[in-house]
Symmetry: C2
Subunit: 168 residues, 2 copies
DNA sequence: CTCTAATTTGCAAGTCATGCTAACTAACAA
DNA sequence: TTGTTAGTTAGCATGACTTGCAAATTAGAG
């Protein structure tokens, strides 16, 4: 995602208003590698701007995604994650603490697929699962920080799948 | 997933009752490669057993998943998909018609990842996106059959992610 | 046939995200 | 500075998908 300043420029050019809500979000998202959910952003934003609406968070996030400024990542953990890192990369999800880390695609085996079985593959989504280095230590803090809400039953054991947005 | 007969055996051994609802589902799921949702199974099951509850579908499906008889696949399209094919394979999702096809992992480049960046990778989830051969034809039927319900906005462009169940 | 624990149902509840609209305001012009 | 207006925000309702719960059933054993 571009810097708040650049985004301001882009918005202006598109006749989009530079509201304080948007500017706040631009700042909160810039260089944010925490893969926040709309809810978590809402909480943080609320501190700096009490009264801001969750609806606005979703709205703005959706616009930024439309503009190709950020990715909407669904790890199947319940809520959508927003990732301002538009570079080609994948994600690693720690099954122990729930942490999500970016994985440089170059450090992982390159993935490619031509038209397998007659399918014209355009995008390949990948998610690595395992335990992060911290949780692998002897005295790891086995605490699933991101209190996973939605459905403890099926959710707990389901097999997630990936998807990369098409060029739409 | 094992055959209905074998499943019956398994259930008996586990002191689980062989209800007609379960038997019906065993049959509907056996060799089913349509990646049905709970809802779609419900519709089909309802024809053969009017009155069956959607709740029961979810319940049974969850149990089968727990028993390792089927995978719960989340393509991010809104509803969970149930896949009785427990063999190692990936999925291809057609962005045009919404069809989901199994992809033999061997026909796609093998994926592997040791501990990238300190992470102990246990599972890697992959989903291929593109257009199926049918939709690639000149006069393709550009109809998203599986009327995607849930959230047309964010859903339409979001980047899905994958996940493979841990050995739980 | 009886009994009991496992199941099924039906409905409420919960989570996540979007639709809708009245109230508000950034951006621009006079 | 003030007026105008199209773009935005805030709230609330609604929708989709699942699960929790408790009462009513029933499969399977004795």
């Amino acid at each position: 995602m571009r810097s708040p300043t650049e985004l301001a420029q882009v918005f202006r050019e598109k006749q989009l208003k530079l509201t304080p809500q948007r500017q706040l979000l631009f700042g909160l998202l810039h260089d944010n590698d925490s893969h926040p959910t709309a809810e978590s952003l809402f909480e943080i934003a609320s501190k700096q701007m009490p009264g801001i609406s969750l609806r606005t968070i979703y709205q703005t996030l959706g616009e930024l995604a439309d503009m190709g400024e950020l990715q909407l990542v669904d790890l199947g953990n319940g809520a959508m994650r927003f990732d301002p890192n538009m570079g080609e990369h994948q994600h690693f999800v720690c099954g122990s603490c729930g942490a999500i880390h970016d994985v440089d695609i170059t450090s992982a085996p390159k993935l490619r697929a031509g038209s397998a079985e007659g399918f014209a593959v355009e995008e390949i989504g990948v998610v690595f699962h395992g335990r992060c280095d911290r949780c692998n230590r002897p005295n790891h803090g086995e605490q699933v920080s991101q209190h996973s809400k939605r459905s403890p039953g099926i959710q707990a054991k389901k097999i997630r799948q990936v998807k990369q947005a098409s060029s739409n």
